[in-house]
């Protein structure tokens, strides 16, 4: 993450309406900002879209993992659990074994460059027996490594490679962590917010494609 230093003047600027860290959607940044949680500021007229989740499911998780469950939310009727990063794999395993969330539907990341914990990992789980979905989230610092979910769901293999490719997040315990969509020698991680949409690895393009620019 050589470009870590560039993060502050990141290209979020093309979005004038982009809120600062304090106004960030509460769900995503939860671990860093427990205090800002009840804000839900902008939509004053309409009911808040994110409400705390308090049902059987979340209680079971809290009971099992205690403080590791940082937050439980419901956003547009979709359940979200925010988990301590170190406990992420354990929670995932518990979800698969005890709560029967047997399908890892999707696994991805979101970049919040202004936050202290920059990356959110987001896993969408689905349970065949109960026909319900659950979203697990955890937040990571820029240089922090995550635990690979590969041992829980083999499906995580390529998904984690893609996250590594696009965000540069390293997964501990992944059998073969290398780029998947971009060429192996590519510099930079395109889905980070500080990677401009026009930016590219011109050196690679020049060398391998024999043209000045891919644009």
């Amino acid at each position: 993450m050589a470009d870590e230093s560039k993060a502050p003047q990141s290209p979020e600027s093309p979005k004038p309406a982009a809120p600062g860290p304090s106004a960030a959607p509460p769900a995503a940044g939860a671990p860093a900002s427990l205090a800002t949680k009840p804000v839900a500021p902008a939509a004053a007229a309409s009911p808040p879209v994110q409400v705390p989740l308090d049902n059987e499911l979340s209680r079971r998780y809290r009971e099992r993992f205690g403080a590791a469950i940082l937050d439980a939310l419901e956003d547009r009727k979709q359940a979200i659990l925010v988990v301590e990063a170190l406990q992420f794999r354990e929670v995932a395993r518990y979800s698969r074994d005890a709560e029967k969330f047997d399908l890892l539907e999707d696994f991805t990341a979101v970049d919040w460059p202004r936050r202290e914990k920059r990356f959110d990992l987001v896993a969408q789980l689905y349970s065949f027996p109960n026909n319900t979905r659950l979203r697990l989230k955890c937040a990571l610092r820029a240089e922090e490594q995550a635990d690979s979910l590969f041992s829980v769901w083999p499906a995580a293999n390529w998904l984690e490679r893609e996250i590594f490719d696009m965000y540069g997040i390293v997964f501990r315990g992944h059998p073969e962590l290398k780029r998947i969509l971009l060429p192996d020698e590519w510099q930079g991680h395109p889905l980070r917010k500080d990677y401009d949409i026009l930016q590219q690895d011109t050196a690679w393009v020049r060398e391998n494609l024999g043209i000045e620019s891919g644009q």
Partner: protein, 383 residues
């Protein structure tokens, strides 16, 4: 055998599991290979003609769709999703529009939803037809391809009449539809559906009972239900392995809750089952279309959404049953006019992961027979 091996001098390395002890052969299939369905590259490690390992090399078609999404407004991005699974553009559009509608907390009016259902089901048939033709071609049956293209053409003509485009249709808008159904839509769909049953029978006559076809596809590329779920494989691949599960039934969207249809399942999860499941799905889609055109509700086709979409901050995940499997959209909004993050869960990408599991231990010839069965579209795999 062990002590025999010891009498041999130490220079000779022991490689018992390769043909004649010769080196493993690494064969490169693709990206320019006639049967890899696009720019997929598979490196096959062979012992003789038997596959002992494989690696998919993808990304040749990577365009950074998710990055583009963060720099376009919600409406502007909609045409881009058509370019992912370009043989099922309508389904992609449906998933995206519904996801954004969920994010906006609006719902498309009933008429729009029914028309969406009709077009999406036609698209499913078209996608399966293309799959069937190319898959049969991979196994060496030339003729079904042309029959399939003939029927697909009729569907594409309906699309063309509806929205002017055949392939990348951009048929739907966030909040409903832009175009009212043209006058003879029902009639066209009905004519197609009425004739289609006989056409499916034609393919079945050519393939289903053909003993060469059976020999090539039965017990080839087996994938057990547990493996499917562990690897995230969805859609016809999952159903062929015997899991009776379809998002259209499990979590109905559009207007699927109004129609009766069956979920076909396979018994073994081999190539033949995947073929049968897709054939049966075409029949079911035909039935859905016939039910839908019987009663298209009147009313508006567009919900009230503003010209500028500013969804409240938050996030939503919405998935539909695309022809190839679960097509999911995870959209994060920061309250602005552009999505903060759009994550697309491409069914092809995740189904492709199961390829290695399917082809191990088979012959190279079988790889060709198997490679088509997850029904991958590289535009979607690479995005």
């Amino acid at each position: 055998m062990n002590d025999l091996a010891n009498t041999i001098d130490d220079r000779t390395p022991q490689r018992p599991d390769t043909l004649l002890g010769a080196d493993e052969l690494v064969i490169n299939m693709g990206p320019q290979h006639p049967s890899t369905h696009g720019v997929l590259r598979v490196k096959l490690k062979l012992d003789g003609e038997r596959v002992i390992g494989s690696e998919c090399v993808i990304g040749y078609l990577h365009r950074g769709v998710e990055k583009i999404a963060e720099n376009r407004s919600y409406q502007q991005f909609a045409p881009y999703v058509d370019r992912m699974d370009y043989v099922a553009a309508v389904s992609n559009g449906l998933g995206y529009c519904e996801a954004v509608e969920k994010l906006l907390m609006v719902e498309a009016p009933p008429r729009a939803r029914v028309i969406r259902t009709i077009l999406t089901e036609l698209q499913r048939i078209a996608s399966h037809l293309l799959w069937l033709g190319t898959h049969a071609l991979d196994i060496g049956a030339l003729t079904p391809l042309f029959y399939c293209m003939r029927e697909r053409e009729e569907i594409l003509k309906i699309f063309e009449k509806y929205c002017g485009a055949r392939l990348t249709t951009h048929a739907f808008r966030i909040g409903g539809l832009q175009y009212e159904a043209y006058d003879t839509l029902e009639k066209d769909v009905e004519r197609f559906c009425r004739g289609f049953e006989a056409r499916i029978q034609e393919y079945s006559d050519l393939l289903t009972g053909n003993s060469i076809w059976l020999g090539r596809t039965r017990n080839v590329g087996l994938l057990k239900a547990e493996d499917c779920i562990a690897l995230g494989a969805s859609g016809p691949v999952l159903r062929a392995s015997g899991v009776k599960w379809d998002l259209r039934k499990a979590m109905p969207y559009a207007a699927y809750d109004q129609y009766k249809f069956e979920i076909p399942v396979g018994a073994n999860g081999d190539t033949y089952d995947r073929y049968l499941v897709r054939i049966e799905e075409m029949r079911q889609s035909r039935l859905i279309c016939l039910q839908a055109i019987e009663n298209i509700p009147a009313g508006p086709i567009m919900a009230r959404v503003g010209k500028v979409l500013k969804p409240p901050p938050g996030e939503v995940y919405h998935a539909i049953e695309a022809p190839k499997g679960i097509l999911g959209y995870y959209i994060v909004s920061d309250g602005g006019t552009q999505p903060y993050r759009v994550r697309i869960r491409p069914p092809s990408f995740i189904n492709l992961q199961a390829l290695d599991k399917m082809i191990r231990g088979h012959l190279v010839t079988d790889v060709v027979a198997i490679i088509g069965t997850p029904d991958i579209v590289l535009g979607e795999v690479d995005r």
